[in-house]
């Protein structure tokens, strides 16, 4: 009875959503914001990836809030899962193949991660995506080697410094006469690696912060 009722409820919900979606002018956006941003970004921000311009320049303070939420979630999960005096379970060693594989993967993952982070203003990707790859680089070697313990102090230090750098760049723009988190520096040539002002620096801070947070979160979950 309970299952039947919930199935009926879900069918109704699906019909409601489909009815709403059929009325929506999909593809023809009723707001002019997107078109405006598309037009202005090359001159105002100078980043080839316009989604990055939205995330870091037009909605930069939103991204700061997003980082705060991720920080709160990672910190709370760490508090909930911290061993609290209980002895850590010894982990089994992963064997030769996995250890060699993780050693091979580590530099490649680092390169790919930093590539995705540093090209966030040019190609699809950015600090969040690249940060996840960086976290995976450290987590793979942590999983493969039983004797290796993640340094939670180091991870916290990276995370704190990256977060402070993000806010510091925003404050520098504020005291430089602009708005908080307004892009600094020259735009440079559109599509060049060093372009779009302070956006690559902001994304580097985001990437390091996300990478350190996810690495410590995964290490807590694994312990």
């Amino acid at each position: 009875m309970h299952k039947l009722a919930s199935l009926l409820f879900t069918l109704g919900l699906a019909f409601l959503l489909m009815g709403l979606a059929a009325q929506l002018p999909l593809g023809a956006t009723p707001m002019g914001i997107g078109a405006d941003i598309l037009q202005r970004t090359p001159a105002e921000i100078g980043s080839a990836n316009i989604v990055t311009a939205v995330v870091l320049a037009y909605r930069g303070i939103d991204t700061l809030g997003e980082l705060a939420i991720l920080f709160a979630a990672a910190t709370t999960a760490g508090m909930v899962l911290s061993p609290g005096g209980a002895a850590r379970k010894p982990r089994a060693d992963a064997g030769l193949v996995l250890r060699a594989g993780s050693d091979l993967l580590f530099p490649l993952l680092l390169v790919v991660g930093f590539y995705i982070v540093l090209h966030g203003h040019l190609t699809p990707g950015g600090g969040f995506q690249g940060g996840v790859v960086l976290a995976a680089a450290f987590f793979v070697s942590f999983l493969a080697r039983a004797e290796k313990q993640p340094s939670h102090t180091g991870l916290t230090l990276i995370e704190a410094l990256a977060g402070a750098a993000f806010i510091g760049i925003g404050l520098a723009a504020l005291f430089g006469g602009g708005a908080f988190l307004q892009p600094l520096f020259d735009h440079g040539a559109l599509g060049a690696l060093v372009s779009a002002g302070s956006l690559p620096l902001l994304y580097l801070a985001v990437g390091l912060k996300v990478g350190a947070e996810l690495a410590s979160l995964l290490a807590h979950l694994a312990e």
Binding site: V54, A73, F128
Partner: protein, 162 residues
């Protein structure tokens, strides 16, 4: 196969996929009694919502909002929904990681993740901690104490007098 569809059909397909994911997640939320399955169902519904948001800015005749040269080449899709979905995905990851961390502790404390068993155990613990009588009759079938366990002393302000 997707490329051969007409643009309106493609958008209908994508919207149906998003709504379908939300519906599957809602069914999972309503039907499943295992807490980890609830978290997974929430993730499915979240994926559907994200897909609907991206489709809202989709145009079949436009390219991705990335400038290839100095001038924008042709029409580009709306970048605002994509940036919002990026935010939503990151927050979803944080929420799910926190939920799983809490589930690990629940499993350690109670040894089960079934919400019906957890409800009984939690009600017993909350009543014991507050010093209240358990919220049901001692003669009922759901009395939340195993036979032989020490019963808390019922207070004068029990359910019948309230």
């Amino acid at each position: 196969m997707i490329m051969n569809l007409n643009p309106p059909d493609l958008i209908t397909l994508l919207v149906a996929g998003g709504v379908g994911l939300i519906a599957i997640g809602a069914v999972g939320l309503a039907v499943s009694r295992h807490l980890l399955r609830l978290v997974l169902a929430l993730g499915l519904a979240e994926a559907g919502a994200n897909l609907l948001l991206v489709v809202a800015g989709y145009r079949w005749d436009a390219v991705a909002p990335i400038l290839a040269g100095a001038a924008p080449a042709g029409a580009m899709v709306d970048p605002v929904p994509q940036a919002m979905v990026l935010t939503a995905i990151v927050i979803g990851v944080g929420v799910q990681a926190l939920a799983v961390a809490l589930l690990i502790r629940v499993k350690e404390a109670y040894g089960t993740l079934d919400i019906r068993e957890l409800k009984v155990l939690l009600e017993r613990d909350i009543s014991a901690a507050a010093g209240l009588a358990p919220p049901c009759s001692a003669h009922g079938p759901d009395y939340p104490h195993p036979p032989g366990a020490a019963l808390p002393v019922p207070l004068a302000t029990s359910k019948e007098s309230a």
